[in-house]
């Protein structure tokens, strides 16, 4: 079946007086790998279940391609869902599990045999047809669940934290496999996860969900490098968030006076066009964008802040420092190389960063 586009039009769902999701407008293109990213309880799974037809929205319309599907029952939607706990039926063998959807569609026996075989091959899981789910490892169960869904050739693939029950190494392997498989099939995929690394690695686009609203929608790069608000900046990767006031804007440079700590000015790339001198802003700086040096380097002293090492954690490829500066705790991640000297707790140091690495975050927007 042809892959479908999915559109959320002003979707809202509440339980009692409590809105779990509200005013969701999203357009997911056919063939896209789209991720709902957010903390637990943010409503991302509810959105997935609305697409699957297990949850009826109280407001708005869901479209598959151009057809509104609010009133189409779950069993007629042809959207395949892989459940977080896999939901394999313990009373059926692997073969029977995978063949289930085909039997529902009343396909011929030979057709079922060949398609089940093909589906199991797709997920690289042959030779276990006669086993029961309980006799399989977690990773194998995951593959069966995937095969069971793919075999019906759904128009959309829904994945509800499918990797969360696997161990770390397997998770990374499955991530790549899933991605290859999805690319090969060109299948519209909606992926739900709370793992930002997973979301960044897999998605063509991400919607970061917070408290039932879309906090930001964009490509992984947009989300990571230009977080739209402090929630996204903090949730997707780590960010040091510094409040300040715009002093001046000149062409592509701005000067900001930081609010906390001793009076400090930093220079940044220009903020968005509407910003005025005197505006309050939040600056986000990623830990890996910081440099830590023993003493001030040359120049005007801009973007160089005095601090003291509170703690250091050696991580092989990098070192993570917690630094007391500007009256708060700042995190820095410094790439490591052999022979490079490391700082110790109590060392007085200078934290420096490039103007380009500072991100403007609209101050406390949205909620």
């Amino acid at each position: 079946m042809k892959s479908a586009a999915v559109r959320f039009d002003k979707i809202g769902k509440r339980y009692g007086a409590q809105w779990v999701v509200r005013d969701i407008n999203l357009h997911i293109e056919a063939g896209e790998f789209f991720t709902f990213l957010g903390p637990s309880g943010c409503g991302k799974t509810t959105l997935l279940r609305i697409v699957a037809g297990f949850v009826a929205p109280d407001e708005g319309v869901v479209f598959l391609d151009d057809a509104a599907v609010n009133d189409v029952p779950a069993w007629r939607r042809d959207v395949g869902m892989v459940f977080q706990n896999y939901a394999l039926w313990p009373h059926m063998t692997v073969f029977e599990n995978v063949a289930f959807g085909l039997r529902e569609r009343k396909l011929s026996r030979s057709e079922i045999d060949s398609r089940v075989g093909k589906a199991l091959q797709q997920v690289e899981l042959n030779g276990v047809e006669r086993r029961r789910p309980s006799q399989l490892s977690g990773g194998q169960q995951q593959r069966v669940a995937l095969a069971r869904t793919l075999v019906i050739q759904p128009r959309v693939l829904l994945l509800d934290e499918p990797l969360s029950n696997l161990d770390a190494k397997l998770r990374v392997e499955m991530r790549l496999e899933l991605l290859k498989l999805q690319g090969r099939l060109g299948l519209t995929t909606i992926y739900v996860t709370h793992d930002q690394e997973e979301a960044l690695a897999m998605s063509t686009r991400i919607a970061v969900i917070n408290q039932g609203h879309v906090a930001q929608e964009g490509t992984p790069r947009e989300i990571y490098e230009h977080p739209a608000n402090d929630f996204v900046a903090g949730f997707v990767g780590q960010s040091n968030i510094l409040p300040g006031t715009i002093l001046s804007i000149e062409r592509n440079r701005a000067t900001i006076e930081l609010a906390d700590g001793p009076a400090t000015e930093v220079s940044t790339a220009a903020p968005r066009a509407s910003a005025q001198p005197g505006d309050a802003v939040l600056l986000g700086i990623r830990p890996e964008a910081l440099h830590v040096t023993e003493r001030r380097t040359t120049g005007d002293g801009l973007n160089q802040i005095e601090g003291m090492i509170l703690a250091s954690a050696y991580q092989g490829g990098s070192v993570e420092y917690e630094i007391a500066a500007l009256g708060k705790t700042i995190k820095a991640r410094i790439a490591n190389s052999k022979g490079k000297s490391l700082f110790q707790r109590g060392d007085k140091i200078i934290v420096a960063f490039a103007a380009e690495d500072v991100t403007f975050i609209p101050a406390k927007s949205a909620e």
């Binding site: 779950a74 529902e104 869904t149 019906i152």
Partner: protein, 545 residues
């Protein structure tokens, strides 16, 4: 370990093997199948076998008919009055089946309440309670909660996502029920049906009370008690009974192993609120079930207070005399019961704890054999165990009893202990399983030796489970008639169940028998209530396989 194994072999395995051997050997002690051939040649026995199978199947069928819709409604829906329905559905378990039999006679019998009312319009009474129909009716009303409770547990273990996955793949409605829900509730249903079947064919009291003798259990009893200990036919009937139990266990084993799997995951079951049009229907159902389950209780209560009750819808004169009879004039039935039950429960807990400990925390060779023997009583009808005891111990002097063990009341305690051992072992096993080994290791790591670890860490954590295990033994022994009736050495050593049986033999004694029945109901209710208090929602495991 060796002592324990010897104990179980002596009181479980050996008596049964002895029964088996007698049925398979001739006068010279040589092996022969002749007795079995004779069994199948006699029309009386063939009929008894057929009746046993047929009535057992009917009991399972009608119990399922009552229990399955109830189980589905209770497991899947939230509604007002649910708790009431749930309680009502377990009430039959607190009344011993043979007591229920007497009560049902009064209500549905030839000259019972219902027929007296119906006779105003009908010419002849409806024979609800005649012959096999009566046995099936009484047993169905008593045993259907087994199927209900077991099926409910299975349904509660079906995670919502298992059904959603099927819907997602295009399955819904009745098809969804048939292909996914039904197979997933099968393990519980089969376990309940198995338990019902085994208990029904083992039930000696109900047919005796209803004076229907052409079933295997009463045949075995009559052979041994009237013709004598040396009549081989009695032993053959016993062996056939055991074979029936074993065969049904064997037939159900596939589902029982599935049951274990299904409970591995923690499930978020489907729950819906029931509203609107369906609600009055459900309440009607509640009323009906409540009425049916309470019928025997009402009958027995009325009878226990009635001075004269014959050919009238309700008793004509009431009295407290029956209670003073059983509590003050001949109090030994009640006192004996308390003594036997407490002792049997205590022994069961001790044995159960040791066995569970050996199974879970040791590597002693032979512990699996221990498990197998301790589970065997599930499939050994009470009549058979009693016959085995009589045969093995009648010539055996019990130290301190001044005579053979079979002439001492202690034989009853042993029988109850062994009969209920599988349940207690299971309760203790479950209790032990809750204590992760690392909790004990932590104590040892901090300097406690094995014994102190057990006393200070393990015991406090399993105490609740042990008490519940003891209560299960207590409740179920209270209503045990099939082995009691054969093993009671003298009337004054009999427990309540025996007293009821004796009193019920004469029309004049019925009132006192009913009063004893009420006492039994109260004892069992108290035990059940306490079990629920301790076990909470898992109390159902008392009535599961």
């Amino acid at each position: 370990m060796v002592g324990l194994l010897a104990l179980l072999v002596a009181f479980i395995l050996y008596p049964v093997l002895r029964v088996l051997w007698i049925s398979l050997s001739d006068d010279q002690g040589d092996f022969t199948l002749l007795h079995f051939l004779n069994f199948f040649r006699r029309p009386l026995f063939r009929e008894a076998l057929w009746n046993t199978l047929w009535s057992g199947a009917l009991v399972v069928f009608f119990s399922a008919l009552m229990a399955l819709p109830l189980a589905y409604v209770l497991a899947r829906y939230e509604f007002r009055g649910k708790l009431l329905l749930q309680t009502a559905a377990t009430l039959p378990l607190v009344i011993p089946p043979f007591v229920g039999a007497v009560a049902m006679q009064l209500i549905l019998g030839r000259s019972g309440m219902v027929n007296l009312i119906l006779m105003r319009w009908l010419d002849a009474p409806i024979p609800f309670m005649e012959g096999l129909a009566g046995v099936v009716l009484v047993q169905t009303l008593h045993f259907f909660p087994f199927i209900l409770l077991n099926t409910m547990v299975s349904l509660a273990n079906v995670d919502a996502s298992l059904e959603e996955a099927a819907q997602n793949l295009g399955c819904h409605g009745f098809r969804l029920f048939r292909r996914v829900t039904l197979p997933l509730m099968m393990p519980g249903f089969i376990a309940g049906a198995l338990l019902t079947f085994i208990r029904a064919i083992d039930d000696l009291g109900t047919p005796l009370m209803l004076n229907y003798k052409n079933l295997l259990a009463p045949q075995a009893y009559l052979r041994i008690t009237t013709i004598g200990m040396d009549d081989v036919d009695g032993y053959v009937v016993c062996v056939v009974l055991v074979l029936l139990s074993l065969a049904s266990l064997f037939a159900a084993r596939k589902y029982l192993s599935l049951a274990e799997y299904a409970t591995l995951q923690s499930a978020a079951p489907v729950r819906r609120r029931l509203r609107g049009k369906a609600l009055p229907f459900v309440w009607l159902l509640i009323g009906l079930i409540l009425l049916i389950s309470l019928l025997p209780h009402i009958g027995i209560l009325l009878l226990s207070f009635s001075k004269i009750w014959s050919f009238t819808i309700l008793p004509t004169t009431y009295t407290m005399g029956h209670y003073s009879e059983i509590l003050f004039r001949v109090p030994h039935f009640v006192l004996n019961t308390l003594r036997y039950m407490v002792l049997a429960a205590a022994f069961d807990v001790v044995l159960g704890t040791i066995i569970a400990f050996l199974l879970l925390r040791s590597r002693v060779p032979g512990r699996n054999l221990l498990d197998v023997i301790a589970t065997m009583p599930l499939a050994i009808p009470g009549v058979v165990l009693a016959v085995g005891y009589l045969r093995v111990f009648h010539g055996w002097d019990f130290p301190g009893a001044g005579g053979p063990l079979t002439s001492s009341w202690f034989i009853l305690v042993i029988a109850y202990t062994m009969r209920r051992l599988p349940y207690t072992v299971r309760a203790c096993y479950a209790a032990f399983q809750q204590v992760h080994i690392s909790l004990e290791e932590a104590a040892q790591n901090l300097g406690a030796n094995r014994w102190r670890t057990f006393v200070k860490i393990t015991l406090p954590m399993i105490a609740g489970g042990l008490v519940a295990g003891g209560l299960i033994a207590f409740i179920t022994s209270c209503v045990e008639l099939s082995s009691t009736i054969m093993l009671v050495p003298r009337i004054e050593l009999g427990p309540i169940a025996y007293g009821i049986y004796l009193y019920m033999q004469s029309p004049l004694g019925r009132g006192a028998g009913a009063a004893l029945g009420v006492v039994a109901i109260l004892l069992v209710s108290l035990g059940t209530y306490l079990t629920y208090r301790i076990f909470g929602g898992r109390a159902g495991s008392a009535f599961r396989i």
